[in-house]
Assembly symmetry: C2
Homo-oligomer: 491 residues x 2
Amino acid sequence: MDVFVSGVGMTKFGRSKDPLEKMMVEAGRIALRDAGLDQVDAIFIGVMNAGELLGDSNFTALLTDIGLTGIPSTRVETVSPTGAGAFETAFHAMASGQTRSVLVLAGEKMTHLPPARSAAILSEGIDRSERRYGMTMPALAAMIAQRYGQEFKLSSSKLEDILAQVAIKNHSNGSLNPHAQFKKVITKRDYLNSQMVSYPLRLYDCAPISDGASAIVLTSHPASVKVSGIGHATDTSSLRHRASFTSFDATREAAMKAFAMAELNPLDIQLAEVDDAFTAFEIIGTEDLGFFPPGEGWKALEEGVTHLRGKLPVNPSGGLKSRGHPVGASSLAQLVEIVYQLRGEAGEERQIERAEIGLAQSTGGLGNHNFVTILERSDRRRVLKQRWRPEHRPEIKVSTRPSTPPPPEGVGTLETFTTLYATPEGFRSPLTLALVKTVTGERVIACNPDYRFPKELKIGRKVYLKTREGLYVFEKLNLWKRMRQWIKRSP
Amino acid sequence: MDVFVSGVGMTKFGRSKDPLEKMMVEAGRIALRDAGLDQVDAIFIGVMNAGELLGDSNFTALLTDIGLTGIPSTRVETVSPTGAGAFETAFHAMASGQTRSVLVLAGEKMTHLPPARSAAILSEGIDRSERRYGMTMPALAAMIAQRYGQEFKLSSSKLEDILAQVAIKNHSNGSLNPHAQFKKVITKRDYLNSQMVSYPLRLYDCAPISDGASAIVLTSHPASVKVSGIGHATDTSSLRHRASFTSFDATREAAMKAFAMAELNPLDIQLAEVDDAFTAFEIIGTEDLGFFPPGEGWKALEEGVTHLRGKLPVNPSGGLKSRGHPVGASSLAQLVEIVYQLRGEAGEERQIERAEIGLAQSTGGLGNHNFVTILERSDRRRVLKQRWRPEHRPEIKVSTRPSTPPPPEGVGTLETFTTLYATPEGFRSPLTLALVKTVTGERVIACNPDYRFPKELKIGRKVYLKTREGLYVFEKLNLWKRMRQWIKRSP
């Protein structure tokens, strides 16, 4: 049974004085009006953390405000891509035949809290044992970016340049989007002047804290856009149990499912909204989605392929980076942008020509809750194609918590690292965090609060691993010093 | 497409030292083993408020622990009946044909917090403007109970006796349930000795604070039990905008949908788990479900119809009252009990004979988020019956927030009231709260912190309504005094 997108709507993203419900009602009303409906069979609400962000956990009042009292209302949460999760859930309700029209409503209100409090709430998605080290989302993303640079042999200035290009492109696109939080075109100089958050990620590598809401109406009654594929996959929440540090298996798996369901290939996609909560994620995303081979996403960016007037525009909306990132609302806003583009309603400056198929990808936590959604014009002529499978897809590693005792102190290898400047409350800044492979082959997160010189560190280098107050701490490996200590201790 | 229940599982409910994930993994493993599966296509997780209760908002780690890393995972929240919400969402995924097997997992961890903090989190579901008065869930339920007594002409001692009978019956059933939190059979004397929470509701009228988890596996592959009907409806979160104060429209609406989908009548139901978060809710629930006419649910209880060996056993598990109420887990545990009963696995003492069709009803907030789910034995011979419609179903009143200015001070009528003894932080105990109808026909919540004698109050009596610091306050209407003041003020 086909499921159609009959209406879309969103508020301007950014800092808003309105309460969350008011923003959601506004987005919902726009989408209902767009669909020409004043009633739907059910509502699906995506809000990531209303309890802690707002001290509220019942969105029934929202229904009253929007004039929909009485209909089934379900709140869905799938970490950051909560909007995409609500969309998938709504799609199931439609495809099951139990509903003939539904409203998907996603929003988040974050700017009213001190940034440190918002950051703390967002980092609740991080594995508990890794959070103990002061780990934050930017720090994890930074470790991924470092590893990407090392694996694909990019110098640190080259990596810096690529990340800057993502930010510059997305700010440029966002400057044309009336719904975007930032309308400012930025230069490489602006990028370099922005504060270091977690080496090598700067403030301009990170999506902002925002308020906003987005909405979509799905109907069984035909409309100009339809849902053609949805994929959703998860991965371990802990970085140390991952199969890869330069790719997200959950995106690859979700993409495979979405392409299979849509009977499409990555080559069929004409525009994409790819999660850029951190600039490095956009590059990795375009590789995981099969648009470009591993390690070549940055080349496509450099060559202008992913630019607004390129062959495959990525984030024509400005992305999370520039349109803003009210967490729950973002992944639904990606779909709103795809619909605008497929309908030819994105506005003269931003409109992509002849767009018939668009894809949105969203990343939850550190790539542990990812979605891929494909929308297409209903009047597109369908051609049955061969099923796509990502090349060399590594098997997803079903990791269990280590039941073995923690490895003893000793030599380890630096797998990746970052120096975190914007540390969580209670942690001294800067804080160097690393993923270390022990001699027994296990991976552990380790910190070194004293390390102020990340340039002395290098992926692949040996370090000395100790435990202190239940945490792993790493130090520079000074073989002579170690040997002298060892000799002294000998009888 | 038929959707089957292939596996069920739950932990013992009560006070547990285990973290939430551990309880959920335990319940999930039991259900998977019961279904004979070690993999499913997707997982649906019901936890009401993990953010505030646990400071955690990413359940991906759970998947790793249960050996299911990689599969789509969606968290669903529908206030208290979050387990039923996750079940409905999972049912849609199955019925849409997108999944062939799913695990529904619901749990809550609450006993580690001080009771006042848990209560504060639970009352976030209450309309914000009503919360300002110190309104709690027991206070709202008490106001409903009072109104029920008045409307159906029950003396206060008769009402007390009926409520006690619900508690006594459910404790008796729970004493036979190995998963129940309380195994204690209680007497009327125990009931009367229990602390007054919000007049007329005592501690034994309220479900406890509990920890626990429950799980269900759904498959497209046939099993002995199948899902035959699901209904879900909402209502205003504010009491003052309700059409009725002795019935929940959301239950009636949800029941109508579920019976229509199952092609069954209330008379077909052989056992039911009915929300008894507050004893009065069980009575009202059995009426709203069409089992008994309005105002006659208490008679059926007195006559033993809803007893374990009665014609229509209600809450054979012990209900929320005695099995325990780990909020998110409860409504899924209701379904687990129905499955045990339909399969003949409820244990000699608790097993209901020849049970082929069972129903579970759950209430969210003050009846603003209700579910009705019907399960039946797959081998039952189906007979097509006439569609059921509840008698005299009042139209659901789509109320909008009052845009008119608040009514002036003046005379009003007491629609219902309670005296709250267990007041939230910052409120003096006891606190008398009332729903007052103003001369202009609007309903407002009003308080009287000084009223220590609820026996002087009576539904239908006139009171004097004033505003003080932005809140409505009511006083006894002393006509002579008012007139003297009025004369004094005259020139």
